[in-house]
């Protein structure tokens, strides 16, 4: 299994990977609170980006509504915790099937009726928006006034109920990111992964080669939705408050997409590297603007847009393919 997973990866890459993992495991020991918060965000977006990448990067189905799965996961686990005191890890057993079912619903509608490309993308946004407005009126989860979790005591960490210091969330997200990375690698090397790539490259050809494209596209959307849902659970317990306007917002979906797109669509390192690039740029902008004493709302986001524009123009394939070529880390083509 391990041999198969590392097949075709250069030893140099493996050493760098191991060193990076070791570095991130010890990072909270010397990182300031500020840096830790930033790393939490980075791994949150690396993980959600990796999950999204399964759908678009591997199977070629553009979803612009992944906030739906984050939101459903967050609300399911948080509501069960608030109303019944159910621990988030048990809540996960409810949250993940709900998101997976939502994914299956969208997938079934779209793939059965040949809704593809831009139409599919708009369908995903529409379902997410529909759900957002629905939650705005759902009294059981506090409607638009928001759902609040009892605020954590930082004195001790309780991993079972996810109440504790940010470092705990950091390790949970780091583990999730590592898991997602390995799982994606394993999936890409499976029969399913090859079928996905075939569908992405040319769906007609894939179908005529005998691939059950409906089945494999459904698998992609369900797996992606289920994985994204876990990030939602962590989101809820990390922030302790949920508003439909925030969690289900289109801008959340777009944030999830940016990391893999900037990092390199369809690559395994892309989402992680992209999350680092985006967060670092965003934070650097914020610091720089503070330095110059600029305090206008929007300036930070504006520069962010300009940087994004630059990335799209300068490295359209994404940062990772560009970087790996220069560092001699290119994987052999599968």
């Amino acid at each position: 299994m391990i041999g198969r997973l590392t097949e075709g990866i250069r030893p140099r890459t493996l050493i760098i990977l191991a060193a990076l993992l070791a570095f991130f495991i010890v990072a909270p020991l010397f990182a300031s609170d500020y840096l830790l918060t930033m790393l939490i965000l980075i791994f949150y977006f690396a993980y959600t980006g990796q999950s999204w990448n399964i759908m678009m990067g591997f199977a070629g189905q553009l979803s612009l509504g992944h906030a739906l799965y984050v939101g459903l996961g967050a609300y399911a686990a948080a509501a069960l915790f608030v109303h019944f005191g159910m621990a988030p890890w048990l809540g996960l057993a409810v949250a993940v099937p709900i998101s997976a079912a939502a994914g299956a619903f969208i997938g079934f509608l779209a793939f059965r009726f040949r809704v593809a490309g831009v139409y599919f993308a708009v369908l995903t946004i529409a379902v997410a928006e529909f759900t957002r407005i629905g939650f705005d009126h759902l009294q059981w989860t506090g409607a638009s006034a928001g759902l609040f979790l009892p605020v954590a005591q930082y004195a001790h960490n309780d991993l079972w109920t996810l109440r504790g210091h940010p470092a705990m969330f950091y390790y949970v997200l780091l583990a999730a990111t590592a898991f997602a990375f390995i799982a994606c690698r394993a999936m890409l090397q499976s029969r399913m992964g090859y079928f996905w790539l075939a569908i992405r490259e040319d769906e007609e050809a894939a179908r005529s080669a005998g691939i059950d494209t409906f089945r494999y596209k459904m698998l992609a959307v369900v797996i992606s939705a289920a994985m994204t849902s876990f990030a939602g659970v962590i989101y809820a317990f990390y922030y302790n408050n949920l508003f439909p306007e925030q969690v289900f917002n289109i801008s959340q979906s777009i944030l999830i997409i940016l990391a893999p797109m900037v990092g390199g669509l369809g690559t395994l390192f892309g989402p992680i590297l992209g999350a680092f690039v985006i967060e670092t740029v965003a934070e650097a902008m914020r610091t720089l603007l503070q330095w110059f004493g600029v305090d206008l709302p929007g300036t930070n986001q504006l520069f962010f847009g300009v940087v994004l524009l630059f990335v799209v123009l300068a490295v359209p394939e994404g940062v990772w393919p560009w970087l790996s070529k220069r560092m001699g880390l290119m994987e052999r083509e599968p």
Binding site: M56, F113, V118, E129, I250, G305
Partner: protein, 288 residues
């Protein structure tokens, strides 16, 4: 509820829907010709709305009077955008174009936020509270002006694409890219013109919509989505489809707002989208 309330709401919905239709028409023209999905469409409309707000608050110029110059500004904006950036992305994959336009949208939203602040703004024209009475029917003056102007602009656009040589040339690019190149059309130039026309459409729609709704910098994405929904309902690239879709959505919003709560009106819009995608994915007015 008495019948005339329904009638009034329906008329108001249709008039607003005509403006929505014009907004979506811009998106439809751009997609129909270049196959580029303008993810910054609603954001471009907010540019026009803010120009109109600024002109009104400083010089007391009516947005409908300033419609032509504002549409011209948006035309120039769209032209430059297509000629300078998007033309290089025509052959790139869809997601790459998407990322480019998302970047442009983020830049627009936040530039407006810096310039005008986060508060919602509107214009109080002298006829803001006027209405016309036709028997039991009471029609808001603002909606009537906006809706009628939208129809005029749309008719002008149909005429342009059907009757002028330039319009025919653009349609040629849409129908057959290689063919258009072969007969010697300057396709890139025509693409830039098309994006300009689409931008002018949404700019004009913005001026009219400002009479009906307030504007905030962050409202852009919601209008982008609305324009998409309308275009898909009407049929991507179909010009009459965009108007029909717009009216249908305007009506849906109005009736849902009356029967349920106004904040839930978008749910019905998305429900209609799902129904249309399932029953006629190619849109109402397009043959399969």
């Amino acid at each position: 509820m008495p019948v005339d309330i329904y009638l009034n709401v329906i008329v108001g919905g249709v008039l607003t829907g005509l403006v929505y239709g014009l907004m979506a028409l811009g998106l439809s023209v751009i997609f129909g010709v270049m196959r580029v999905v303008n993810f910054a469409h609603g954001e471009m409309m907010t540019i026009a709305m803010y120009i109109a707000v600024a002109l009104f608050s400083t010089f007391h110029l009516d947005p409908l009077v300033m419609l032509v110059p504002i549409a011209a500004v948006l035309f120039a904006f769209g032209y430059v955008l297509q000629a300078g950036l998007i033309n290089n992305f025509i052959t790139r994959p869809e997601y790459s174009q998407f990322l480019l336009l998302i970047a442009i949208a983020i830049i627009i939203v936040n530039t407006l936020l810096i310039l005008f602040g986060p508060d919602s703004q509107n214009v109080q024209v002298s006829y803001a509270y006027d209405s016309f009475q036709l028997g039991p029917l009471i029609v808001d003056a603002t909606k009537l002006h906006a809706g009628l102007t939208a129809v005029m602009v749309a008719v002008g656009l149909f005429a342009f694409f059907r009757l002028t040589r330039l319009g025919t040339a653009i349609r040629a690019c849409a129908d057959n890219y290689t063919g258009a190149l072969v007969v010697g059309l300057d396709v890139k130039q025509l693409y830039a013109l098309t994006f300009g026309i689409g931008a002018a459409c949404v700019g004009a729609a913005g001026c009219m919509l400002l009479l009906i709704f307030d504007v905030t910098p962050s409202i852009g994405p919601a209008y982008t989505l609305l324009a998409f929904v309308i275009v898909i309902i009407g049929g991507m690239g179909s010009m009459p489809g965009a108007i029909v879709g717009g009216v249908l959505i305007g009506l849906t919003e109005a009736i849902a707002g009356l029967l349920f709560t106004p904040s839930a009106k978008s749910m019905f819009v998305f429900a209609i989208l799902v129904l249309v995608l399932l029953a006629r994915p190619q849109g109402i007015l397009r043959s399969a």
